[in-house]
Amino acid sequence: AGESESATVRLLTHDFFAVPDELLAEFTADTGIEVEIIRGGDAGIVVNQAILAAGNPVADVLFGVDTTLLSRAIDADLFEPYRSGAGARFIDQYDTAEGLVTPIDFGDVCLNYDTALLPNPPTSLEDLTAAQYRGMLVVPDPTISSPGLAFLLATIDRFGEDGPYTWRDYWADLRANDVQIVADWGAAYYGSFSATGTGSRPIVVSYASSPPAEVLFSDPPIDEATTAVIEDGCFRQVEYAGVLRGTPNREPARRLIDFMLGVEFQESVPTSMFVFPVNPAATLPDVFLDNTSVPSDPASLAPQVIERNRERWLTEWIDTVLR
Amino acid sequence: MLRVTDLTVRYGDVLATDRADLTLERDETLALLGRSGSGKTTVLRAIAGLVPMVSGSITLDGADLGPIPAHERSIGLVFQDFALFPHLDVGANVAYGLRMQGAADVENRVEEVLAMVGLDGLQRRRIDQLSGGQAQRVALARTLAPRPRLLLLDEPLGSLDPDLRRTLAGELKVMLDRTGVPAIVVTHDTEEAFALGDRVTVLVDGRVATTGTPAQIWSEPGTVEVARIVGHSGIVTATVAGGIATVAGLATSVEAPDGAVTLLIRPGAATIGGPIPTTVISSRYRGPDWVTTVALGGGSIEVSSPEPKVTGNKVDIAIDPSGVALLS
């Protein structure tokens, strides 16, 4: 509504955000808007930084609010509404908190396994408690790791809070079956996991996109991944962007979100961030098509539910698994 | 040319110099003699402008130095530990003052001064590669190079071996005489003070105890303290009655009221063989003679003897009354 347009837009995001320079250059060439990327740690830290500055934002656009963080960001009144014309149809499949945020990508946290060691992988979460898979699973600590939390949420979604067999019972069984908890994704994947790490555990909590990444970033080159995804027990995390309330650069901010929904940017996210595009018009690179599929029925929980229960769940998880 | 009047300097609670008076004439070298901590260095520092005076005045050629900062006084100071600049070589150390003056022909003057102190060709030598004697000469050269109006030397030979000290003291005297720069030399060694100073000022606890020619100081130190500092040991207590001071068998006329007085019996005044019976305390070889210390009048005196005396034995000595001085 007639505010002064600056030629720069500031994008506040986490340290794993990546975008090819050419795309940004193109954006600048097309719109005359420079993009300044401000990073500040992982997604949780960045969202909190944004919340601390709510109303008087450090940047114009925030990218990296995921399903587990969304509710908190909305509660803090971080964003101003914006509905991008660029993604009119497919946006509606996602929870946009009544038009305050725009989905950009989604990723599934899934169990990966070592195809060489496990010719008969488990096919369900329940299988993991079987004696056959004893001592095979390694999970990042959900109290510090975001994939770890996602996996916990998947189990909560599956087994529920009440009833004869709750998620706590499930984790007690995992514990009895010698699940290993390590610090973060890296410690699990590059430490304990047998296929990519130095350890001997053939099942690890990772991403649906990990097997194609193994092919893409192999040395020497390989054609087929030595890891694969177990389709059951995946948890879907959607990553959102939003225009930060109080931005003096509303129009450039909106252009940036439009850009992030555009086919070019959307096609870049699989290889630069290992997530899947929300725009169905974007085609996936071959390695993705060959080595993984988008899980058909991932678990998901409403952001409000996560926000309301997270602390309790984590405490209960600690009591169940660590005490 | 230099007149220091009523100089008082404090370091916090310590009264380092207490109403000191000094004068220095043109072409003269004054030796400042005193014990460690007596304020010798402080006097030099005050003259050089490195420490503020609490009271008193310092004039050089009639001009008050008070308001003039150290770096504008043109007074050369050779520090007790030389304080050579460790990051500069010998040549650059000597050239330093010249450069500060913006002097024209620095190189030549450096060569000239180094030649004067006998260190020709050592320009490029690093400071930490100098022996003690060489460092002393470099310090002197550095100070002489900018032709100061006045030279202050703080224990210039302090840390050297005795035989080197004696040699360098002679050289230094010659150098001072040759350059003709008036100088104050601080030392705690009487022999050195006498060798270098045309006059000697003795400091005791920050005060000027006495000033005079070496001969005056030696023969009439005036006080017990000065007598000790000069190195005299024959200090005895006598009783005066009617202008005659008596101690053991010695009687000598003094100008003092009746009562107890302290007498100095100068070295050489006592000789073996005579009317005064004494007891040997100790005996040590001095070359070529032995020095025997004997008890006398509550103190002791030294007599020369051709052979050692056994401690506890009796010896009779004579004392030349002209070798006796009154102390206060």
């Binding site: 340290d15 601390l52 973060d184 304990s192 | 100071l77």
Partner: protein
């Protein structure tokens, strides 16, 4: 002699930097956090986990300090008192760990003593891994701080004790140890602070059960979104660290012994007889501790992609710049480090001059306060910047925050390494210059400046490597522009794909190499005889 006005002027930049970029942001965020829900203070303080976390933090820091001293003191002795072949190189090697980023260290330790680690036992998640990493990190602090005083101790005191009938162990216990107390206390204080606020190491090696206050702060801030809890924990940390530092400063004041120190060259000798074994064992242990994790990184670099080779260097070259721009990261790191150097020259060195010129307790207090930033929560400070730096000029996402944070962390080390040098110049040479006709400005230019240059250059190099290897504070600051090397390493370790892992190790090795080169330079510039760190 610096006048009161001059010293206030010289201390000003450090004071401004400390207040504007440390005290104020810290106070702002803690106030905001607690203000959000003051009622929770009691609740959080009374929580069992708070107590157990504080307890664990304290005891692991104490244990880390004790262990580091245990390993470091013999090595300090060997380095301080003996001349042996390769001494300079060995000093460089044991110094490198200190400036390595925590991520790299944690990952090297995981590869070494984690699941399937090279050592064959899995210590991940146990306190042993944490202690090991802390010893590895801080060994240099003890070796350099204690060693520097030790190298100046008059050996005749020990000889006097021996000639009075004291056995070597008694001599050490009754003479050496008491005389070294100030340096041991200083080293212990720094090691304790580093271990007390340890984040990356504990996060990665301690999970899932072990956490320091700093890790809990991170958890509260990043995952549970409990800002009041984070703020209260940060407050506990700041208050604890400050109290500790005050006790330390008082202790240093009390236990200060006026002793005659000798130039280091006058105390070092060749080891003979049994001493050879002692020196060999002490230096060997220190070298092993330093080299094994570094060697682990090298091994991973060399064996990436199967056989022995330089595959990882290729991998490093091949990293997709749109994922992690390696050359840009190197450039950024060097740029930040350069700015930290410049800030060090402008801020830390003047402060060092002030501290050096005041022998009064004041100097010691400033010296102590400078240690506060290394004992404070990086996560919290990152938030503090966001809360506190919006007015009068909005600096919240200013690129300068990162090098400023680095400078604050480097400051105590820079000050400690330069103050003794400045003091060693002594008033005498300045006075000599003055009587030779040099005014105050020229004295500074012709005497102080050239004499300080080597120490200042050394201090600047130290700031450079500290900046280069800094991770914790860098990560949590909202910063524009690209990544630094440590963040790039972190990013590469966080992605699947063998080449990413290889590239991460290769980049770590590059950091080790650059650090090693700069530390070597630093060793060269050491002013013989003085220098505390």
């Amino acid at each position: 002699m610096t006048t009161r006005r001059a010293s206030m002027l010289l201390a000003l930049p450090a004071a401004v930097l400390g207040i504007a970029f440390f005290a104020w942001p810290m106070a702002s965020i803690i106030a905001t956090g607690i203000g959000a829900d003051p009622g929770r203070v009691v609740d959080i303080l009374g929580r069992g986990t708070t107590l157990s976390t504080v307890w664990f933090t304290l005891w692991q820091a104490a244990a880390s300090t004790a262990l580091t001293l245990l390993v470091g003191i013999p090595a300090a002795y060997a380095f301080a008192r003996f001349r042996f072949p390769g001494r300079r190189l060995a000093r460089i090697v044991v110094t490198i760990p200190f400036v390595l980023p925590t991520v790299v260290v944690a990952i090297a330790f995981l590869a070494l003593m984690g699941p399937g680690g090279a050592l064959g036992f899995d210590l991940a998640g146990t306190v042993w891994a944490i202690l090991g990493a802390h010893v590895f990190f801080n060994l240099a602090v003890v070796i350099r701080t204690v060693g520097s005083l030790w190298s100046h101790l008059d050996p005749r005191l020990e000889e006097a004790a021996a000639s009075l009938g004291a056995t070597p162990w008694t001599v050490f216990r009754t003479i050496t140890l008491p005389l070294l107390r100030p340096a041991i206390a200083a080293a212990a204080a720094i090691v304790f602070l580093f271990s007390f606020t340890s984040f990356g190491v504990v996060l990665l090696l301690g999970a899932p059960r072990l956490a320091t206050i700093e890790v809990e702060i991170y958890r509260s801030a990043a995952l549970v979104f409990d800002l009041p809890a984070a703020a209260i924990l940060a407050l506990i940390q700041v208050v604890g660290v400050t109290a500790g530092l005050l006790v330390y400063a008082r202790y240093q004041e009390r236990s200060g012994i006026g002793q005659h120190l000798l130039p280091a060259a006058a105390t070092a000798r060749r080891p003979v007889g049994r001493q050879r074994w002692l020196v060999g064992a002490a230096v060997g242990t220190a070298l092993t501790i330093a080299l094994v994790p570094i060697g682990m990184i090298m091994w991973r670099v060399l064996t990436a992609g199967g056989g022995l080779g330089l595959g990882s260097l290729r991998a490093l070259g091949a990293v997709d710049p749109s994922v992690v721009d390696v050359p840009a990261a190197i450039g950024n790191s060097l740029r930040f480090a350069a700015v930290a150097c410049a800030l060090t020259v402008m801020v830390a060195l003047p402060a060092a001059v002030v501290i050096a010129s005041r022998r009064s307790p004041m100097g010691r207090w400033i010296d102590t306060l400078l240690m506060l930033p290394i004992g404070s929560s990086a996560v919290t400070l990152g938030f503090g910047f966001v809360v506190g730096l919006d007015a009068p000029v909005d600096l919240r996402a200013w690129w300068g925050l990162v090098p400023i944070a680095h400078t604050l962390i480097a400051m105590p080390f820079v000050v400690r390494s330069t103050v003794p040098v400045i003091r060693s110049i002594g008033p005498r040479v300045r006075e000599a210059a003055a009587v030779l006709g040099a005014g105050p400005g020229r004295v500074w230019r012709t005497i102080d400046f050239p004499m300080l240059t080597p120490a200042a250059a050394g201090a600047t190099a130290l700031a450079f490597v500290i900046s280069l290897g800094e991770f914790g504070a860098t990560l949590f600051v909202a910063r524009p522009g690209g990544k630094t090397m440590t963040l790039a390493i972190f990013g590469l370790f966080g992605r699947p794909g063998a080449t990413n892992l290889s590239a991460a190790f290769a980049l770590s090795l590059l950091l080790v190499v650059i650090t090693g080169a700069v530390v070597a330079l630093l060793e060269r510039m050491r002013v013989p005889g003085v220098g505390n760190f």
